[in-house]
């Protein structure tokens, strides 16, 4: 293992910019860190180089712990976006800089420099100054300079960002060729998806400081785990479907289960990813495609070289729901993006307004337990307040999820068994929660009246039998909130030694299970006292928190819990938001 990053966290003014990242990179691997700007990818790279201090975690290069080592002793080569060449030195002096620092003999330096210049195809440019070179040539010099001292790893921070398109592709090939030839372990940071695909052996996708997913370009493209990755890597249509043992329901159509679909009970809502090239378009009158799921009208046709981009608006009434946020609620139109090859275009010419039937060639169901949000409020004003809550807004935005419906007043008899049910947290909430559970709600997010984004997330999961679904929920939320999560164990003041061991074990198991199943880390914390005291102490704190609890679905026990030990949650001044996972004891 060439590079090992363990639980790395870097805080900036109290907010994690790199949040609990664990990653291993193999010797000789070309790894690309991909993410939007501000996702923490550059900070992670700089932490590896030793150019920025980290707050938590460990970094090892070739088995050597370098966490505390200054940059100059780490033996890494780094290339920067704006080249960072020394302008008062010639190309030769730039490349030999690291060798002079190491007091290498002039003859050896010259030999090494010749090798490197040959490697980046710049022979004969020794005596030029950086200002006499083009951008592409300067970046070649920067690559040669970074390789001079034979570093253990090569780090490239958006190296092609400042170059124009043609030079960019050319230099990309050079870098790939050099990396292959030297078998150099390399990490490249970029926000360009195409660049990542063309260079990477493996890609890691970052968002809000979290490493969301890692995998080969093909696997990430075909089997993403989150909505963010599905949409960041190329275009994707995201629909809400229903998984059941007999198949998969999308709108009115019943499709066969995709092979990689998560095992699910009947009626489980799931987010389905369909790539535009996997949409099959047939004329409305002709034989329907094999896996037809909707009918619609062509709204837009765009020429894209060898492909044609088709936007289809689905016919009303439409039973297919989009899984991502829509511009206007109440606007029920769903549009589908499709790409057609030249052969398909020839077989069926389309114009704007053509009526078509849509089929799906291949689809993928995301394993996320959070498919959509449903607001349950007494009236429209309360629903608006819920929708404006910063925690919900943050989750909807970063998950790119959708608030599917707003249930207001007594009219709501709609079943709540899919997605996450969102309720206001008020003294009367206990009754509202039991009613929601009676209507089928299994995942309930209760938001306090005082709007605040939680600064930490506390997980209490003492029951091993219900832990797995709870942790799936926890991991999904953790990846989309910039907070640290802590497993909390409760222990009564008079506990016997055996009970203390038992609660400690439950807490450690929670951390271990989350680590194993989802690759995320929890801190741990012990509270001496019962559930009631713990929740009361949280309500008394000014720091807003999100508490995640598992509840037993059995009716009498549930009501007792809501009226008894969960009571402090419903205190009117609380700043604590609660996420409840109600599962039957298996």
């Amino acid at each position: 293992m060439s590079i090992r990053i363990e639980q790395l966290t870097k805080l900036y003014q109290g907010t994690p910019v790199v949040n609990d990242v664990t990653l291993e990179i193999h010797t000789g691997e070309f790894f690309v860190l991909l993410g939007p700007s501000g996702s923490g990818k550059s900070t992670l790279l700089r932490a590896l180089a030793g150019l920025t201090h980290v707050d938590h975690g460990r970094l090892s290069l070739h088995g050597r712990d370098v966490t505390e080592l200054p940059a100059r002793l780490r033996g890494v080569g780094m290339v920067f976006q704006h080249y960072a060449l020394f302008r008062h030195m010639t190309v030769a002096e730039n490349i030999e800089f690291a060798l002079r620092v190491r007091r290498m003999r002039a003859a050896d330096r010259r030999r090494r420099r010749q090798e490197l210049l040959q490697l980046v195809a710049l022979e004969g440019y020794d005596e030029r100054y950086p200002s006499q070179l083009s951008g592409g040539q300067q970046q070649r010099v920067a690559v040669a300079r970074a390789l001079a001292h034979e570093p253990a790893v090569l780090l490239l921070d958006e190296p092609f960002g400042a170059l124009d398109a043609r030079i960019r592709v050319e230099l990309r090939d050079t870098v790939r060729a050099v990396q292959r030839r030297l078998g150099m372990t390399t990490i490249l940071v970029t926000h360009d998806q195409e660049e990542a695909f063309s260079l990477a052996d493996r890609i890691g996708i970052m968002q809000m400081g979290r490493l969301l997913e890692t995998g080969t370009p093909e696997n990430l493209y075909r089997y993403p785990a989150t909505r963010f990755v599905a949409r960041f890597l190329g275009a994707a249509n995201l629909f809400l479907g229903e998984l059941s043992p007999d198949g998969l329901r999308l709108g009115s159509a019943m499709l066969p289960q995709p092979s990689a679909a998560p095992a699910a009970a009947a009626g489980t809502e799931a987010v389905l990813v369909v790539r535009p090239e996997d949409i099959e378009i047939r004329a409305a009158g002709a034989a329907a495609p094999e896996q037809a799921f909707a009918r619609g009208t062509v709204r837009e046709l765009t020429f894209a070289g060898h492909q044609q981009h088709v936007q289809v608006e689905l016919a009303q009434p439409c039973e297919v729901h989009a899984a991502t946020s829509v511009e206007r609620e109440g606007d029920r139109t769903v549009s589908v993006d499709a790409l057609r090859s030249a052969a398909e275009q020839a077989a069926l010419p389309l114009g704007v307004g053509s009526s078509v039937t849509l089929g799906v060639r291949r689809l993928h169901a995301l394993p996320t337990p959070i498919s959509s949000f449903r607001l349950v409020a007494a009236d429209a004003a309360q629903a608006d307040a819920l929708e404006a809550n910063p925690l919900l807004a943050q989750l909807v935005r970063s998950m790119q999820a959708r608030i599917l419906s707003r249930v207001a007043g007594d009219a709501g008899s709609e079943r709540l068994d899919a997605g996450i049910c969102v309720l206001p947290l008020a003294p009367a909430s206990a009754a509202a929660i039991s009613e929601a559970i009676a209507r089928g709600a299994r995942r309930i997010l209760c938001l306090p009246a005082l709007p605040a984004l939680p600064s930490r997330m506390l997980v209490h999961a003492p029951d091993p039998r219900r832990r797995a679904p709870l942790l799936a929920l926890v991991s999904s939320v953790m990846r989309h909130l910039p907070v640290e999560a802590t497993a909390v164990s409760l222990q009564s003041a008079t506990a016997s030694r055996g009970e203390v061991v038992e609660t400690q074990r439950a807490m450690l198991d929670t951390s271990a299970d989350l680590r194993h199943a989802h690759g995320l880390d929890l801190r741990s914390e012990r509270f001496v006292g019962g559930m009631r005291e713990w929740l009361a102490s949280l309500s008394a704190q000014a720091e807003p928190a999100l508490v995640v609890l598992g509840l037993d679905a059995a009716q009498p026990a549930l009501d007792e819990a809501l009226r008894g030990e969960l009571g402090p949650l419903f205190h009117p001044d609380t700043r604590t938001a609660v996420l409840l996972a109600v599962d039957p004891a298996p």
């Binding site: 200054p70 960072a84 008062h88 800089f97």
Partner: protein, 287 residues
């Protein structure tokens, strides 16, 4: 389509200028420059030219004048060097660190520009006189500042400081932080990073700033005459010699000394510019 020759030849469109045309602006520039700079300088040369060459040598070779030239040049040089070191330090502190009162500190640097030089001179003299605050601390150590060449250097340092700080500061602020990071990853320690990466990048600005401080010091009058004590052959500067000759109505001789000073300044500026040019050829900081 018609061939290119068939198309009418268009007059090249005139680019809209923000200021009125080149002729007008250039004319004004030359007029002002002449009125304010060239004509007075030419007058000095003309007045000096009225004296025969032998008289010229006599005036310039007088021990008192020679001593004044020596003091002016050496003290200005010393002041410029002190400013180069401490101005760089101040510019560094002001750009690289964030601390309470930084903006006030930054504004204070300009004070020597704003203060009437005579005020500075009086203040410095009061401080450094043998019975002044600082002077009385230094006196037991056998160091006398006021009324010695040392006092001249201090006054010239005072008035020259802003030049170095204000020329180095923006260059330092614009210096790409990645340069230092790159040097670090290549194995350079902090000292080496400064010596091989930061200092060479600042050198042109540092030379410019020091040269400005030097030229300013050479011509400084107001702040020096109080602290210098103006003892002939010891602490008398060239501008004072010129003043003295004027007061004695020796206009010709004053002009000769002035012309000597002028030529010296020219030579200095020429040398500095040549050095700058040579440096710039080596590393044009273009991106």
């Amino acid at each position: 389509m018609s061939r290119a020759e068939d198309l009418p030849v268009l007059r090249r469109p005139r680019r809209q200028q923000i200021l009125p045309g080149f002729g007008l602006t250039m004319g004004y520039s030359i007029t002002y420059l002449s009125l304010i700079v060239l004509i007075p300088l030419a007058a000095a040369f003309l007045t000096a030219a009225k004296l025969p060459l032998a008289q010229w040598l006599h005036v310039l070779m007088a021990p008192r004048v020679l001593a004044a030239f020596r003091l002016s040049i050496l003290a200005s040089l010393a002041a410029a060097l002190v400013n180069a070191v401490f101005g760089l330090l101040i510019a560094w502190v002001l750009t690289r660190y964030e601390f309470p009162g930084r903006r006030l500190f930054d504004a204070l640097v300009d004070l020597p520009f704003a203060l009437p030089t005579a005020v500075a001179g009086v203040a410095l003299t009061t401080l450094y006189a043998p019975n002044g605050w600082l002077g009385q601390l230094l006196a037991p150590l056998g160091i006398q500042v006021a009324f010695t060449p040392l006092g001249v250097v201090i006054a010239l340092t005072f008035i020259g400081l802003p030049f170095v700080v204000r020329t180095v500061q923006p260059v330092l602020a614009d210096l790409e932080p990645d340069l230092e990071r790159a040097a670090e990853t290549l194995g350079a320690g902090p000292l080496l990073v400064f010596r091989r990466v930061i200092f060479p990048a600042l050198l042109p600005a540092l030379i410019t700033g020091s040269a400005l401080a030097f030229s300013r010091a050479l011509g400084e009058y107001g702040s020096v005459i109080f602290i210098a004590g103006n003892i002939p052959l010891v602490s008398e500067i060239v501008p004072l010699v010129i003043m003295t000759k004027l007061e004695q109505f020796q206009y010709g001789e004053a002009a000769v000394v002035a012309v000597g000073m002028l030529l010296l300044s020219f030579a200095m500026m020429f040398a500095v510019n040549a050095a700058q040019l040579a440096l710039q050829r080596r590393h044009q900081a273009r991106r």
